[in-house]
């Protein structure tokens, strides 16, 4: 039954992705002009238009053909693993991805770990000790952190760090001596040394939000009769809370895994720009602004695929952790 359900969901996902891929491509092509027009304009400014180069570009990327044909060339290439080249840098899209995705994913995964490892215990404590001074201070810190945009936190952080610890460079991820050096243990260690800054800045808002959600969920569950019944069986109150209400309250977090997946490779655009992080976010922004169709469409589409896969994954996970969903019970 479970396998049939999974197959069914995959069958639905395929046409969904096709429609999404078209919409993505269409939207990126939508602004007037194309990369080619911009290129010709730039060449004119520099003095001479190299018609041969323009012709080559035209032939390689089918700029003179209708949009639907261009879409066809892009999507067939994408499916076979050939995502084309960036118009701007003439570098393979796959190479750009291979370069930027690992760092982006590392930041995102550490951010998720940071968020969960703080939010889960604090959410539970805030719920159990609700309306206590501890709960109120967590609420105060949490609401402040949620209300402050992350880029403001990033800027404040930079200013504060500059005055407290001038030697420390809070921007970037890799020290100067390691740029353009192949990956090694030393370089990885250097990455870890820098990683906590973006992880902290990116994670603060999410952590605060998740504490609120978890607190509300646990409080809802604490009122339920089955918690009292478990206590009446003579179970230790702390064990009761961890075994029953927390177990039920954690379900919404599991369903959140789906929405996390696409953001793992996108990273946060604004924070990456403020902190000068070499992640995919700023690169995609640049590609979108330059109408660098292949790079932009491929990156955005990969995120869409991850979103669809993520939602499928979280639905399945939720069915595993919550029997009420698997059996369609009440």
């Amino acid at each position: 039954m479970m396998i049939r359900y999974i197959l069914q969901r995959i069958m639905i996902a395929i046409p969904t992705l096709l429609v999404i891929s078209f919409v993505v491509f269409f939207l990126i092509q939508l602004p007037p002009g194309s990369f080619l027009d911009a290129k010709i304009a730039a060449m004119e400014l520099e003095g001479g238009v190299d018609m041969a180069e323009i012709e080559t570009l035209k032939n390689t990327y089918h700029f003179d053909r209708p949009m639907i044909v261009q879409y066809y060339y892009w999507i067939t290439g994408f499916v076979t693993g050939d995502m084309g080249k960036s118009f701007e840098t003439d570098v393979e899209v796959t190479r750009t991805l291979a370069e930027l995705v690992p760092v982006t994913a590392a930041i995102s995964l550490f951010t998720i770990l940071f968020t969960w490892s703080l939010a889960i215990p604090f959410g539970i404590i805030a719920a159990v000790k609700r309306n206590s001074p501890l709960d109120y201070s967590l609420t105060f810190i949490g609401l402040t952190a949620m209300a402050t945009p992350a880029f403001i936190i990033a800027l404040i952080f930079q200013v504060v760090m500059q005055s407290l610890w001038p030697q420390f460079d809070p921007t970037g991820l890799i020290s100067r001596e390691y740029v353009n050096v192949p990956w090694s243990m030393a370089k990885f260690a250097d990455l870890l040394k820098h990683l906590w800054v973006p992880v902290f800045i990116l994670g603060v808002g999410g952590t605060a939000g998740m504490i609120r959600i978890l607190r509300a969920n646990v409080i809802d569950e604490l009122k339920k009769q089955y918690v009292l019944c478990a206590r009446a069986r003579g179970m230790h109150p702390v064990k009761v809370i961890l075994k029953y209400p927390v177990r039920v309250a954690i379900n919404p977090l599991v369903s959140g895994i789906g929405s996390i997946l696409p953001s793992i490779i996108s990273g946060s655009m604004i924070i990456s720009i403020v902190l000068g992080l070499p992640t995919l976010g700023p690169r995609v922004l640049q590609a979108l602004m330059n109408q660098d169709t292949y790079l932009a469409a491929s990156c955005v589409f990969i995120q869409c695929v991850l979103a669809v896969v993520g939602i499928l994954l979280s639905d399945l996970l939720l069915a595993v952790v919550d029997p009420r969903i698997k059996f369609g019970g009440k």
Binding site: Y226, R231, R233, R324
Partner: protein, 341 residues
């Protein structure tokens, strides 16, 4: 019936500290329960009937607390009685009693089981907490218990979830969990509220047969006088956190003493006290939890209200005859004489 009570509450008070002041939910309740006996505690919602038993179980949660009194529990017949209030409510001692020799079932069986754990996990948990049985023995005992409470196909049902059971079945499971460690005393807090009438009967009959088999004492908390008539041996009537009358079940229906008991009985369909006429509602409403009523708390609603007496002093629970105790000045001659002289 043994001579010594299993559970004895002495002048138990429960208070809830709120921002508007302390709510005095239980104001000096005294009762005892013996082996093989069912004591029914009757009263309207909010009269403290559940709270007094929660106090015995150590289940009063902050901001509530047991502010005074003694709760004696005798684990073995002829053994020493322990004052449960000498131990912290979550101490090892209290946890070993709660769910073991002193078990409780609750109203609303629909939400009494965790929606994400199997039925068997609940049974296994209580056996693990209170016995030394190994995994296999616990499984066998669980199946035996499920069969005992009338759930067929126990081994299969063991692995199912609560939402796969009806309300009546869930209450049977709760009873199985409560009985898992052969309790000496079972507190049943409105065990049939929310179940339909035929199921109510089945559950009460099941409880009665299990009581007979295991010689348990039962505290049956209810507002349903029909349930009292069918199941109780003795009855304590509560009003606003106090016991106003205690008597045996026959006397309660034939010769009620306290005016509150009388009005309760008059408001029940088919009661001899109602006669042919209309059902009678009790005048007025229950005072709010923070209102202070001087004298007898029932006097504003009482038909027998004696000005100058009932609104002056609080009547204590005293014997009216050999069967009944009532907290009412109507039966306390000394006070009456004082007033007339």
């Amino acid at each position: 019936m043994s001579k010594e009570p299993i559970l004895k509450l002495e002048n138990v008070h429960v208070k809830y500290d709120t921002d508007d002041g302390a709510v005095h939910a239980v104001r000096g309740v005294t009762y005892d329960v013996y082996e093989d006996e069912t004591l029914a505690i009757v009263g309207e919602s909010g009269c403290g009937k559940s709270q007094s038993s929660y106090a015995a179980m150590g289940l009063i949660q902050p901001p509530g607390r047991v502010s005074d009194g003694k709760i004696w529990f005798r684990n073995k017949d002829g053994g020493e009685a322990v004052n449960l209030l000498d131990h912290h409510k979550d101490s090892k001692k209290m946890r070993s009693i709660r769910g073991g020799p002193l078990a409780m079932i609750f109203q609303e069986p629909m939400t009494a089981l965790s929606p994400v754990h199997r039925i068997g996990q609940h049974l296994d948990e209580v056996l693990k907490l209170h016995t030394d049985l190994n995994k296999k023995q616990r499984f066998d005992r669980s199946c035996e218990l499920l069969t005992q409470v009338g759930i067929p196909d126990a081994a299969k049902r063991y692995t199912q979830y609560s939402f796969e059971f009806s309300g009546g079945m869930r209450q049977r499971i709760m009873i199985a969990i409560a009985l898992a460690c052969n309790p000496r005393l079972l507190i049943a807090d409105e065990p049939t509220t929310g179940l339909d009438v035929t199921i109510q009967n089945q559950i009460l009959e099941l409880m009665a047969s299990l009581q007979e088999k295991h010689h348990m004492g039962v505290v049956l908390i209810t507002h349903d006088l029909a349930v009292v008539a069918e199941n109780a041996d003795r009855v304590a009537v509560m009003y606003l956190g106090r016991i106003v009358e205690t008597t045996d079940v026959h006397t309660l229906f034939e010769d009620p003493k306290h005016p509150y008991t009388v009005s309760l009985l008059k408001s029940v369909v088919g009661s001899p006290l109602t006669g042919e006429g209309r059902l009678q509602a009790i005048r007025g409403t229950v005072p709010g939890p923070l209102d202070v009523v001087p004298g007898c708390p029932f006097h504003p609603r009482c038909d027998e209200y004696m000005p100058g007496i009932c609104d002056q002093e609080l009547p204590t629970l005293e014997a009216v005859n050999e069967k009944t105790c009532a907290a009412c000045f109507l039966y306390q001659n000394r006070k009456k004489k004082e007033a007339s002289s």
